[in-house]
């Protein structure tokens, strides 16, 4: 049982029967370890995701046991695979339907930048339609790489300020994508 690591507790003041810390730290900890991902799997990276979700690489130990296929209940949009221009508006609609706070991870070369498909029908990276937090390169990335990307998302989530979604910087980021 020594191999099982329990996540580090945030900095705070501890005493008998109480633990005082910043609200942001506590919420960040809770959010990071219980993300509900929305697997937006379009192509080959989706099969590597299925392998990551499986028992060998096991995404469930990061708190992602329940895959949410409904955007309304998801925190993390995992875009895995090529997004064609035909699919762009749909991806955007799914992103808009998600509630704040939400994070986006672009898995694979095609989602990050169009990949090997420099053709007229492929969107050259999903950051042309939605803001992205973490890019995972690879074609397809190994499950270990996908897990690395997810751990980076967990870092982002843990350290995010509670007020970030209300700041002018974030609002202008969304405006640059024409997302209201």
């Amino acid at each position: 049982m020594e191999d099982v690591q329990i996540t580090q507790k945030p900095q705070g003041l501890e005493g008998e029967g109480f633990f005082a810390t910043k609200l942001g730290d506590a919420i960040g900890l809770a959010r990071a370890n219980s993300l509900w991902p929305l697997p937006f799997a379009t192509s080959c990276c989706g099969i590597e995701f299925m392998a990551t979700m499986g028992s060998n690489y096991d995404l469930a130990r990061f708190g992602m046991e329940r895959m949410s296929f409904s955007p309304r209940q998801a925190d993390l949009l995992m875009v895995m695979g090529t997004i064609a221009k035909k699919m762009g508006p749909i991806l955007r609609q799914v992103y808009e339907q998600m509630a704040e706070p939400k994070w986006v991870i672009a898995v694979g070369a095609c989602a990050s930048s169009g990949g090997i498909f420099d053709s007229y029908s492929v969107l050259q990276g999903i950051d042309k339609v939605i803001p992205v937090d973490v890019y995972v390169p690879g074609c397809p990335p190994r499950p270990e790489q996908i897990i690395d990307g997810i751990m980076k998302i967990q870092e982002l989530v843990k350290d995010e300020s509670l007020r970030r979604r209300y700041t002018q910087e974030y609002k202008s980021l969304l405006e640059s994508y024409n997302i209201s």
């Binding site: 192509s43 080959c44 499986g54 060998n56 029908s121």
Partner: protein, 401 residues
Amino acid sequence: MNTTPQLFANDSIDGELATLNLGPTHPATHGIFQNVLKMDGERIISAEQTVGYIHRAFEKIAERRPYNQITPLTDRLNYCSSPINNLGWDMTVEKLIGIEVPKRVDYMRVIIMELARISDHLVCNSVIGVDTGALTGFTYMFQERERIYDIFEGVCGARLTTNIGRIGGFERDFSSDVIKQIQNFLKEFPKRFNEFGNLLNRNRIFMDRVIGAGPISGDRALNYGFTGPNLRAAGVDYDVRVMNPYSSYQDFEFSVPVGESGDTFDRFMVRQEEIYQSLSIIRQALDKMPEGNYHADVPEFYLPPKKDVYRSMEALIYHFKIIMGEMKIPEGEVYFSVEGGNGELGYYLISDGGRTPYRLHFRRPCFIYYQAYPEMIKGSLLSDAILTMSSMNVIAGELDA
């Protein structure tokens, strides 16, 4: 026997039809395609399909890539069994050029293709299980696929999009580790696969669920251009490995499982049995593997060993020309097909003597048989329609190319 008509005969209370949008993003469609269903209560009256959500313009890209750079493109057609696509392309080019590969290469190719076929059928059958609610089979079989991935990694270095094989053979021989892994696989896999079979094959709940879901007759299937397990489940025993044998398939003893009614249960069972047949083929190939070289002696198309490139002028020139894509491909047109995981995967290649194909068209089985889907689900319940779709094994990469 389908007893549902009696149970749901009067389920439309007010006679109004509902329009339901199934997709393009849907957890159960396993791919990006949209179906707009017109439903009468729970029953489907008609369906309208939209595909092309992952159209990546393979055929246009292929006109601008030298022949050895097209192999990674073919990977991404049916990505669950990408070695079959790669080796099919290599064989197409070999047919155009007129190269004969040694017997050993043929047997190695057969082993790799049958492993890829097993991996594809495992995905499809596990996913049929998931859609009926049996998630456990999926997790067990994906563990088995990891072992197949280990074998692929030992041969070519990649798990999923393998870019395996070269024009003229393989990039390296099977190492002793790979042979040991394959032998281990042949020993361990049947036991675990039998567990999966015991879970679902004669499971009464599963059988009640899938028997009668999405049937299609052999005549309609032939008319729709079905190939592969979907056609064999409908009763027609058309298998490209038997009809136009390639890569020494005629040396192997295997049978082609055939179903009767073409419904989901038959498709599931055909795939189950095909996995056993593939295991037998791999066993035969491994036992009878001939000695020889792992590539043909075609220095104009197959890279010379690196140490020769540093010493001999000829090898240097060949190396340069092959890497720059300046291979001397003769003019001509050729159609070559292999038995992919979903059926007859065909390559129609027209070459004008240049360094890139003039026209390369992929005969993609998924694209052709998916058009029959509205006919197959007409009049069935929504849950049966979902099962029919996952049992047809529609891979989005092959659908849209």
